[in-house]
Chain length 604, copies 2
């Protein structure tokens, strides 16, 4: 089962592995493929082969989506370990050790597939794919040492990154909010017009601004550098000649605008391009690109946030670097290093990741010796950013109403109890055997997703026997297979109840909204029937006592990835107390093992 799981996870990833482009769509693609696999194919497009039916539970689907995201990052940046850590730090809020192993498997397969595909594409017949080698922006030949004095400007880069990143999050939050409230409600046509409009504005700015900029003379050719200035027509790379005289002149603003973003970043990171850009051009580009990134974010275009973030960060990083080079003349300082740190700081200030960002930055630049500096800059930018708002993904998830629990409970929860948190919704419970008419009317009258089921014990006292989900009730109502005439439990004295349902019917497809109560049509005869809920309920959901601190409840939800928790009165007595040792002792305790074997054999 687990093996199948992992193999499918990696199938989802290979699709991403062969593509080239921005990372946002790739991560999205990976997650989508994984999600499709997780629901056993798509019924809408008649793609639901039998061998895909192994994934039944929500948990499998969550795990697959996590693997898919990791695969996307691994493929986009050729950063397999970074992908694993991205999935760990940013994607999943509920991490288990088994998941680590699966995600790692997925990433490893992606890495090998991408590497092999790049070997086949070496001759250049696959277009841009494979250019730049396995390391996208290799700067391993650059600065690999730093002096104590440089720590100060680097800290400043961290602070700038934190400020600009927090500002970016805040601006995109406002714009997305406005867009959702007023713009995107008017239909899909508006979305297309918006996207077209923005791309036209982007084009005008990209062409117009370099026209206003004067040409610069080419630097004297350097024996170490294989860069031609200006670049020959038809080639990609550096020193764009843009309406300049052909001879030894280039336009530095056009060099940033008229390259693929990959090449532009490579130039900014590179140590060989000292004095290529003037401070004025960098500043112009920074302002324009930042504004465009803010406006573009949230349009109906699948676009990533990593590469634009690296562009913004490396621009101001290089600006700082230029001043540092002027200020500390004696030291061996390269502007490219500061561009790299700037990129790290902006991503850290906006996305607030730490370890995964660190690893991704190292994996895409192959300069391990700068790792301490990257860590330092990330530390500062994240701390500065956290002082203002939350990370980009968290803010957007909040805005979209995705019930994503943050890593730590809110402060006010300390003073609240579990009972207070659920005071707003009245609990509706079902008896064990329930009339269909009652189910129908209760499901109609409220929108709860889970209902407690209460039965009477042998002594006549009430007992909560489990939790039934709305979605399961809807399936039961629709299929009508389990309706019965008698209001008595269908216990046949054998302890087992015949289940007429295929388990897969209860799996909610992720791509649709699932069944709704309006879809269900029952005859008056049906309404008089009964359902015994016992086989379909979760017999032991997690419970909390009514006066437990909400902080503790929060941690329970967050750490176990729960959806529902019952709040119950304090218990009258304690039957037992389980300690860690009770969960460990089984192995070495022979008597327990024997007892266990007898238990399991009697159950066969």
């Amino acid at each position: 089962m687990e093996l199948i799981h992992m193999i499918f996870g990696s199938i989802g990833s290979v699709g991403g592995g062969l593509a080239l482009g921005k990372e946002g769509p790739l991560v999205h693609t990976g997650a989508c493929i994984a999600s499709l696999l997780g629901q056993g194919g798509s019924t809408k497009y008649h793609l639901s082969p039998r061998w895909l039916q192994v994934f039944k539970s929500d948990r499998d689907r969550r795990d697959l989506v996590t693997c898919g995201c990791a695969a996307g990052v691994a493929a986009a940046f050729r950063a397999p370990v970074g992908g694993v850590l991205f999935a760990l730090e940013e994607v999943t809020s509920w991490w288990r050790s088994q998941l680590m192993w699966r995600v790692f498997f997925t990433s490893a397969i992606v890495a090998v597939v991408v590497r092999t595909a790049m070997g086949w594409c070496k001759s250049g017949k696959c277009g841009h794919f494979g250019s730049g080698g396995f390391i996208i922006w290799d700067i391993s030949g650059g600065q690999d040492d730093y002096s104590f004095e440089e720590l100060f400007p680097m800290a400043i880069i961290g602070i700038i990154g934190g400020l600009l990143g927090a500002l970016f999050n805040q601006l995109t939050l406002y714009i997305t909010y406005w867009r959702r409230k007023s713009l995107h409600k008017r239909g899909n046509r508006v979305k297309i017009i918006e996207a077209c409009l923005i791309s036209v504005i982007t084009s005008i700015i990209s062409f117009g601004l370099p026209l206003l900029r004067k040409c610069s003379p080419c630097p004297e050719s350097d024996a170490n550098s294989d860069l031609e200035c200006p670049r020959p027509p038809g080639m990609y790379g550096n020193y764009v000649n843009f309406y300049c005289s052909k001879d030894k002149e280039y336009n530095d603003l056009a060099t940033i605008f008229f390259n693929t973003q990959d090449d532009a970043i490579r130039n900014l990171f590179s140590a060989k391009t000292i004095h290529e850009y003037s401070a004025q051009s960098l500043l112009t580009f920074l302002v324009m690109f930042y504004t465009l990134a803010v406006v573009t974010f949230g349009t109906a275009v699948p676009a990533g946030q990593f590469v634009p973030g690296i562009m913004i960060g490396s621009t101001y990083g290089r600006l700082v670097g230029m001043f540092v080079v002027k200020f500390y003349r004696k030291l061996n300082i390269e502007e490219g290093t500061y561009a790299l740190l700037g990129a790290a700081s902006f991503l850290g200030g906006s996305m607030r990741m730490t370890v995964s960002l660190c690893v991704i930055m190292v994996e895409i630049t192959n300069n391990l010796k700068l790792l301490p500096l990257i860590m330092l800059v990330l530390l500062i930018s994240k701390a500065v950013g956290d002082a203002f708002n939350e990370g980009l993904y968290e803010e957007q998830a909040h805005l979209r109403g995705i019930p994503l629990l943050e890593s730590r409970p809110k402060y006010h929860m300390r003073k609240m109890t579990a009972k207070e948190a659920c005071r707003r919704q009245k609990v509706v419970s079902f008896p064990r055997v329930v009339k269909v008419a009652n189910v129908f009317s209760i499901l109609r009258s409220n929108k709860h997703n889970g209902f407690p089921v209460v039965d009477h014990g042998r002594n006549g006292e009430a007992l909560v026997i489990g939790l039934i989900l709305r979605s399961h009730l809807l399936v039961l109502l629709q299929s009508k297979l389990d309706f019965q005439h008698s209001p008595l439990p269908c216990d046949l004295g054998m302890g087992s109840i015949p289940i007429r349902h295929n388990f897969s019917e209860f799996v909610k497809p992720a791509s649709s909204t699932g069944l709704s109560i309006e879809d269900i049509h029952l005859t008056p005869d049906d309404f008089e029937m009964y359902i015994d809920l016992t086989p379909f309920l979760n017999p032991s959901p997690y419970v909390v006592p009514e006066d437990m601190s909400l902080t503790k409840v929060y941690n329970l939800f967050r750490q176990l990835g729960l959806r529902h928790v019952f709040v119950v009165p304090r218990a009258p007595r304690v039957i037992g107390l389980i300690t860690r040792k009770d969960l460990l002792v089984e192995e070495n305790d022979d008597s327990a093992t024997v007892e266990l074997q007898s238990t399991s054999s009697s159950e066969i």
Copy 2:
């Protein structure tokens, strides 16, 4: 508070950062310093300054120890990100996002401190420290490409690694078991004799075996290589002349044995040392070193497992590499690459880490382009090893009786209920106000660490009001401050109970075994007194219903890092149902916020 936490975490690490040596002691040192800080200094050595009293809880201490371990790895291998991931994957079983940030902070500080210290020590005045640069075994100039055919021998390395690693775990398990049962019980003197004996045997073998080996002629001097053969006296590094004629001869077995392990590994990994070692020498060394490593593991000597593991792995990796070089003559293959993969495979097969090992291997060798291969090899070796037994650390933790919960519950737990797991110990509960004599006799008569406290509600029914820890009861008995004459609760009508204890008295020092019931001496008068337990109990421990599956209970323990869980009867009714949305909605819901503010202001 958090800042203090992190700063102290990094203080603990700086101590480790300046030392050089094997990683085991360093990780240990980091954890010890952190643990000392966590308990507010050491009372035994009169080092308990006031400013250390901020860490009160077990959780703080656990977090600090995690930070300390990460700092140790970060300092030993100069692998800061590897340290973070090591702490995440191997050290802590209970991971929170806040912890990631703290551990990352610690590692970043370690990285910067180590880097700065290495800058100061450049001239060589700090001994071995700083030799090898920030990357210990830099092989970035070596093989960075591989062909499809090579994947097969690499998979074989993975399988060998898995087999040898699993065998290593099993052998060390048996030997450690025997040692603890029969050898170490006889006192500390035996431990010293054992350590001396093993070191003598090691020395005899290290000197004796090279003597039996013939000398080899030096390879023709290579212009690219700056290695001298044989190495000049007083120098470290390659080509050891060991009773060979001074002129152009060296002893290849002595070259492995008579170097620091650092240098030996560097030679094994290096691409420049092709044909330096004969297969016979490598095999001899492998057998001897493997045996010695098995025997030495578990002696009373602080020794790490990483560096010996890398030695073993790189030896057989290089052996495989030699055959591959012979077999695929056309390809550009280097033995050093296979040595690196061998090292990764043995560590993976023995310790069963994935992501952290990957990052550590990349951080210590600086050859990012081999990352896909390292991942592949780790994947295979871990899978092969898992087929036989558990990881080295898990096995040893089991043996030592450390209640470390594995990542996934045992299969048989699915068929057990919570009630069955706790059937072996009878629950002893306390009333709210308890007679001192009763507390004393109960603590004497059993060894439970936690007791439920049961009180009577307004209607006279019994109610479980919380959990009291044995250690807290012992503190109460010893201090006698809270004894009272009346058997009535000491409610003063104000809702608050005067607490006469300083909170820090309840913190159990980690370095001692804590109070024992035998340490407490009470007068007959004391026995007639009463204690009101209300202020000292945990009012809402987590509870599970009696028939919950043990698998679910296990996950609760594991994910929340619990120590005690109450097993209670099924609830008679559900007061409320909390969903994820209930935990999120507070922020945007104005009415809730107002209500909350009024609640908190009334409490002031």
